[in-house]
């Protein structure tokens, strides 16, 4: 075990042998390093003013990822390079992304600007050529600007590419950075206490260490992306005594495609999972694209989204409809269960003390299976769903052979629509059947009213989404979507 957290702040090594396990990267930067360029806007990973870039070694290169410093814990930086807005300008000249923002009049009050700078910097690492506007919208979905209306920022994002943004000191120094990081990270499990020795941070490097630690500290808070746990700390002001970070557990950070399934480790981020899943389930990919923002998806995991059991998590209904299997481990013992059986009641999952989610098996869709998923929220990007419907239907010869339908946001847990499924199975896939299934949804769910939507809207839309699914699978001429692949495109018409 290693008793310190090691990372690079730009080029400078940092060795922290005492650290508050829930000190955020943002507080660390502003209070410890005196780097105040990174701003706190919301303290919950939504506004992006605190966006920093974390570069981590992956397959012999650096993977640059924008993340929200306000909800990332310092310990998660172990083995990485941390870059902030202060690090981009070199030798007195602004980085191309910075210069483009200035030239395009893309800052007004300027408070959100450092976050935009970092998101755009990360964009230049991921996109060789000027991205299209939809991609830029995605890149910037996690950065709120209240002044500009975004138009000049998008102009700057494009103009950056006229200034050779990729040929910079970071690209040229990548080999050296990799070398420095290799020297810092010995692959050991990390264990660090706070100054009083009262609170602890662990970053196990392998699943056995994790299993052992979690058996020893079953009260510990497990965290991967801390996109939820971060808020327990910043908003609810909880102070967990022991935090175990999953991001360094090698076995949990794998995503593999087998002949008939995708095996998703519990520590795999949405960003890493998205492309693989989208290949097999385009609609699942589209929903994942709309979960949080780039910053959130770079940190958050499907495993965490399941483990946390929220009734409004977007992954569970997708996985339930697709018939995924959940794998749990406790100590040396392992068990697997159909994922819907994991959700018992509000805030209660089928998980014992010391037991953790190891991974998920997502079976590949069978031929003739129609998979559709729709996320409904007030705003398309970076919004928590009012409801989400996922539909896996096998239709043969105009008959519904099998149906797995799951909704989020309609009950205390993500749940299958048993009555609606029953109304469909064996029936002809036509309007009458769909209407019957729509009515049956009233047997399956009694949603609540809250700030995201009223009960009435939730139920109405739950039904209408089934209809959308019907139209999409039977009428290929009608546009049914406003965003994502297959959306209405008026490009030429307007």
């Amino acid at each position: 075990m290693r008793g310190e957290i090691r990372f690079l702040l730009d080029g400078a090594p940092r060795h922290l042998s005492q650290v508050d396990p829930t000190m955020t990267v943002l507080d660390y930067l502003r209070q410890v390093e005196g780097l105040v360029g990174t701003k706190e806007g919301c303290n919950e990973g939504d506004c992006g003013a605190c966006t920093v870039v974390v570069a981590r070694p992956q397959n012999g290169a650096l993977r640059y990822e924008a993340v929200n410093a306000c909800i990332q814990f310092v310990g998660t930086l172990d083995g990485c390079q941390l870059l902030t807005v202060e690090h981009l300008a070199k030798n007195g000249s602004l980085h191309p992304v910075q210069q483009a923002l200035v030239d395009c009049h893309a800052s007004q009050c300027g408070f959100c600007t450092p976050g935009f700078v970092m998101s755009l910097f990360a964009m230049t690492r991921h996109h060789e050529e000027t991205p299209d506007e939809a991609t830029i919208d995605d890149v910037l979905a996690g950065n709120l600007c209240r002044c500009t209306g975004y138009a000049p920022i998008v102009r700057a994002a494009k103009q950056t590419y006229e200034m050779g943004p990729r040929d910079d000191g970071f690209a040229r120094g990548e080999a050296a950075t990799l070398q420095s990081l290799a020297a810092l990270d010995d692959g050991e499990t990390v264990a660090v206490d706070d100054a009083q020795g009262a609170r602890h941070f662990y970053a196990p490097s392998n699943a056995d260490d994790l299993a052992e630690l979690y058996e020893r500290y079953p009260e510990a808070t497990l965290t991967a992306g801390s996109t939820d746990v971060g808020l327990w700390v910043t908003k609810e002001m909880r102070r967990p005594e022991t935090v175990i970070y999953l991001g360094k557990v090698a076995e949990l950070n794998r995503i593999e495609e087998t002949e008939d399934a995708v095996e998703i480790g519990a520590g795999v981020s949405y960003s890493e999972a998205m492309a693989v899943i989208a290949k097999h389930y385009p609609d699942m990919g589209e929903v994942i694209r709309r979960i949080g923002s780039v910053q959130i998806r770079n940190a958050g995991t499907i495993g965490g989204n399941v483990a946390n059991g929220s009734p409004i998590g977007d992954s569970p209904p997708l996985l339930i409809a697709a018939g995924a299997t959940l794998h749990l481990r406790k100590g040396a013992g392992r068990r697997s269960l159909p994922i819907e059986e994991f959700f018992l009641a509000y805030g209660k999952q089928d998980r014992e003390a010391g037991e953790f989610v190891e991974g998920i098996t997502l079976p590949l869709p069978e031929e003739a299976t129609q998979f559709r998923a729709y996320k409904i929220s007030k705003r398309f990007d970076q919004d928590i769903s009012a409801l989400l419907g996922a539909y896996s239907l096998r239709i043969e010869g105009g008959q519904v052979v099998s149906a797995r339908i799951a909704y989020g946001g309609l009950a205390a847990i993500p749940k299958r629509a048993a009555s609606a499924e029953a109304a469909l199975i064996g029936a002809a896939w036509n309007e009458t059947t769909v209407e019957r299934a729509m009515t049956a949804l009233e047997q399956d769910f009694s949603p609540i009213t809250d700030w995201r939507a009223s009960a009435g809207y939730r139920m109405q839309v739950a039904k209408n989404l089934l209809q959308r699914c019907f139209i999409e699978t039977t009428d290929h001429t009608s546009a049914t979507r406003l965003v994502g692949a297959g959306a209405l495109d008026l490009g030429g018409a307007i």
Binding site: R30, V36, G37, T38, K39, E40, G41, C42, N43, E44, D46, A49, V85, E86, L94, Q98, V102, H105, S107, Q108, C109, G110, F111, P114, D137, D138, L140, A141, L144, R146, C147, T148, G149, Y150, K235, M237, I376, K378, R379, F380, D381, I384, A386, W451, A453, S454, Y457, V461, N464, L465, Q467, I471, S478, A479, T480, L482, V483, L490, A493, I494
Partner: protein, 778 residues
């Protein structure tokens, strides 16, 4: 003629003075300043209930908490326990016996770290005796308590004209509020000085008011308090009065302890504590002829003001001032109802009631269009202010600068309105799920504070011996580019490069008795004040040159970087040094007051506005009729800024204002629970537009060739607020898409915010109404 030109003169797209600092993280906001030694961090303890009497309050645990140095309650305030900006004494800094909204400050705790203060604030035990809260319009109307005097605007005989009108419509519209969501939250830092002095660094649009509130609470004269602000991370009206509470508590702690004190509420607390844009309930009735020409209008604008008056009087007044928008109302009777509720005290927000007034007025137009079966654009054009006596507003000011007809005509052509109207009808005929909509709405916005005294400004300009210029004025920088624009004026006047003009933080110590940077007035009044300071110095310099070089005054000219005196040209710095040697004062204040304006509120008559700013927009949307979701596909804007001081900055105000207005009318929904607690108090629950929400096609043009007919600063026009109202076309475009479901026979009466849920509910209601009317027809 010299070929040379200065950098950063007026009418040029000079970049924001802090642009390079914004992008490199070196622009310092208050929380970024080095912390003074011994700094204390303050946090507020707030009410968890909407209306109650405080029976008992036990703060022992707060006092005993780790790091706590001081706990303040109302009785610890040496001066006046009030931060009411209109001095109605209805807004205690810290609650005494009564709490009137969930979020009201009850006590303040100061600790060594912010985390300690924040944790300690949660430890209070407060025993509330619950009182019935008044939360919504119905309850508030029933209770009938107003936070301030209502206003009536009346012209002609509306009741009689309504009764005699051939056609009539009547209805009601809900218009939601809006959180400012400035990215930098409220923050203040007070540093105690000698004797009774204190310096307050505050994120405020109104340094003089902060100074006054702090002086009042501390019971010291205003000259003991200096307020400073270099820049805000956004404000939008949310820092016109809402900073008072935060600034005052830090000053109280600083003077009690002799240590500097800072407060920075967490985002959620900021949103729970501070006021927002007023929501309104508008009752309307209009009479018109068969053509759709308005003959009479009666409207009541009820504003949900919250627990205290704050600025609700002038906000609800401004709603009435904009009910007419660009339209002539021959007989009008407009009444405001500034209702008291047990919710957060609503406040200034870009447009200041004007947007709500205009949204109500535009609903009338839409209703008339559906009643007459015409395209709303035809009804709009039919009712525009015009010649032949059709130029008097309901407040009896003549519209002398009307360019709305020309703007509409140009935009109608450039946006290809009618061809697209036809194409959209065709699309909607065949599209099963998605329906498209189109709308053009104009804007006429009155420029000037309706409180006449606020229409004044001061500036202070120094030239140092090396020819560098120091600029200070009473306006504040919140991102709108005011500092840049005023520096352009100074550069232009002295004909020096803008880089030679040092922009300095606003401080009450340099320019006193400032007005709030609000009402879009910033560059109009501060630009003019700076101009007057420059001209005073130039007059002295001219006198000096005339006497020294014995040339007539008309032979003295400020050229780029130099001064021509007769046949010789002297570099500016050299010229200034010569003036210094001759003992010429190189420093001057400047002052400006807006001419021509006057307003008699009781009579509802006068000229409250110096001039009007105009604009128009066309929005096209696509609506998903299964879910109520929508997208803004294309927006075309033509907007009037007179002869722009800075077209780049003005373009930014137009684009940004539009998107902010669009957010207000679409996804931004404030949601209170039954107990009166705001539940959308963070960006996770309160949804302002994201990058992907901006219009897919966004054509924004500044109207050319129309300098301000009034003598404003370089004939420019104010631009801060008016563009926000361009977004009304988005609401109407969504409504238009919905209307297609009933063959454009019925007015959808789409209220705001048009969240997907509200859009779907409107769709369902319209379908039911359409079925019912069809049934009747059959």
């Amino acid at each position: 003629m010299s070929e040379a030109m200065i950098t950063g003169g007026v009418h040029r797209p000079q970049r924001h003075d802090s642009g390079h600092k914004h992008v490199s993280g070196t622009a310092a906001y208050i929380d970024d300043l080095p912390e003074p030694q011994g700094l204390l961090h303050v946090y507020l303890g707030i009410s968890s209930v909407a209306h109650a009497r405080i029976r008992d309050m036990n703060l022992d645990a707060v006092r005993a908490a780790e790091g706590v140095v001081l706990v303040l309650t109302a009785e610890d305030i040496p001066g006046v326990n009030d931060v009411s900006p209109t001095h109605r004494h209805d807004e205690p800094i810290l609650a005494e016996e009564l709490v009137e909204y969930a979020g009201q400050a009850i006590f303040a705790v100061a600790a060594k770290t912010r985390d300690q203060a924040r944790r300690a604030a949660q430890l209070a035990e407060i025993d509330y005796e619950p009182l019935e809260p008044v939360l919504d319009f119905a309850e508030a109307r029933q209770r009938g308590v107003m936070v301030t005097d209502p206003m009536t605007l009346s012209r002609g005989d509306a009741a009689k004209a309504l009764a005699e009108a051939p056609r009539r419509i009547k209805g009601q519209m809900e218009i939601g509020g809006q959180d400012h969501f400035y990215l930098e939250g409220q923050i203040a830092l007070s540093i105690p000085g000698e004797d009774d002095e204190v310096t307050v660094i505050s994120s405020t649009q109104h340094p003089t008011e902060i100074q006054g509130m702090v002086a009042g609470a501390l019971n010291v004269p205003a000259n003991a308090v200096t307020t400073e602000v270099r820049r805000m991370g956004g404000a939008f009206g949310g820092k016109e009065t809402q900073g008072n509470l935060f600034a005052v508590v830090t000053a109280l702690v600083a003077k009690k302890t002799g240590r500097a004190a800072k407060i920075r509420p967490d985002r959620d607390d900021d949103m729970i504590i501070t006021g927002k844009r007023h929501d309104f309930l508008v009752d309307y009735e209009a009479g018109f002829d068969e053509e759709g020409r308005i003959q009479a209008v009666e409207m009541t604008y009820a504003g949900r003001c919250g627990w205290s008056s704050d600025l609700s009087g002038p906000v609800t007044d401004r709603a009435l001032f904009h009910a007419d928008n660009c339209y002539y109302l021959p007989n009008a009777h407009l009444v405001s109802e500034p209702l008291k509720t047990n919710t957060v005290s609503n406040t200034a927000f870009r447009g200041f009631g004007g947007p709500q007034g205009m949204v109500g007025g535009e609903r009338l137009i839409e209703e008339i269009a559906f009643a007459t079966g015409k395209d709303p654009l035809e009804i709009r054009k039919l009712n525009l202010y015009g010649a032949g006596g059709r130029d008097v507003t309901p407040y009896h000011q003549r519209v002398e600068d009307n360019i709305a007809p020309e703007i509409i005509e140009k935009l109608e052509a450039s946006s290809d309105y009618w061809a697209r109207r036809a194409a959209i009808r065709d699309f909607n005929e065949t599209s099963r799920v998605i329906k498209r909509g189109l709308a053009l709405t104009p804007v006429k916005f009155g420029i000037s504070f309706t409180l006449t005294a606020y229409n004044q400004a001061g500036a202070l300009v120094h030239i140092y011996r090396d020819g560098s210029v120091h600029l200070n004025h009473g306006g504040t920088e919140m991102g709108q580019g005011l500092y840049t624009k005023v520096a352009q004026v100074v550069a232009q006047e002295f004909q020096v490069d803008i880089e030679r003009v040092r922009i300095t933080a606003t401080t009450t110590g340099k320019v006193p008795n400032t007005s709030a940077t609000a009402a879009s007035s910033g560059s109009d009044i501060n630009g003019m004040a700076a101009l007057s300071a420059c001209r005073a110095i130039k007059a002295r310099l001219t006198d000096f040159a005339r006497d020294k070089w014995e040339v007539p005054e008309d032979q003295i000219e400020f050229l780029p970087g130099e001064v021509r005196v007769g046949n010789q040209k002297i570099a500016f710095a050299e010229f200034i040094e010569a003036a210094y040697q001759a003992r010429v004062s190189l420093s001057s204040t400047g002052f400006y007051k807006t001419p021509k304006i006057h307003w008699d509120r009781a009579a509802g008559r006068g000229r409250p506005f110096y001039y009007f700013a105009y604009g128009a927009s066309v929005s096209e949307v696509a609506v998903d009729t299964l879910t109520g979701e929508y997208r803004v596909e294309r927006v075309d804007i033509l907007h009037d800024v007179g002869d722009s001081l800075n077209p780049a900055i003005d373009l930014g105000q137009i684009e940004g204002g539009f998107v902010q207005g669009m957010g207000w009318l679409t996804t931004e929904e404030l949601w209170w629970d039954k107990e009166g607690r705001l539940r959308t108090h963070a960006p996770s629950t309160y949804k302002i537009p994201a990058c992907g929400d901006r219009p897919r096609v966004f054509n924004v043009d500044i109207l050319q060739g129309h300098r301000n007919r009034e003598e404003t600063i370089y004939r420019s026009k104010a631009v801060g607020e008016p563009p926000l109202m361009l977004a009304i076309s988005v609401l109407h475009a969504i409504s238009d898409a919905i209307a297609s479901l009933a063959d454009h026979r019925l007015c959808p009466r789409l209220d705001a915010p048009a969240t997907p849920e509200r859009v779907l509910a409107t769709i369902e209601r319209l379908r039911r109404e359409a079925a019912a009317t069809k049934g009747r027809a059959a």
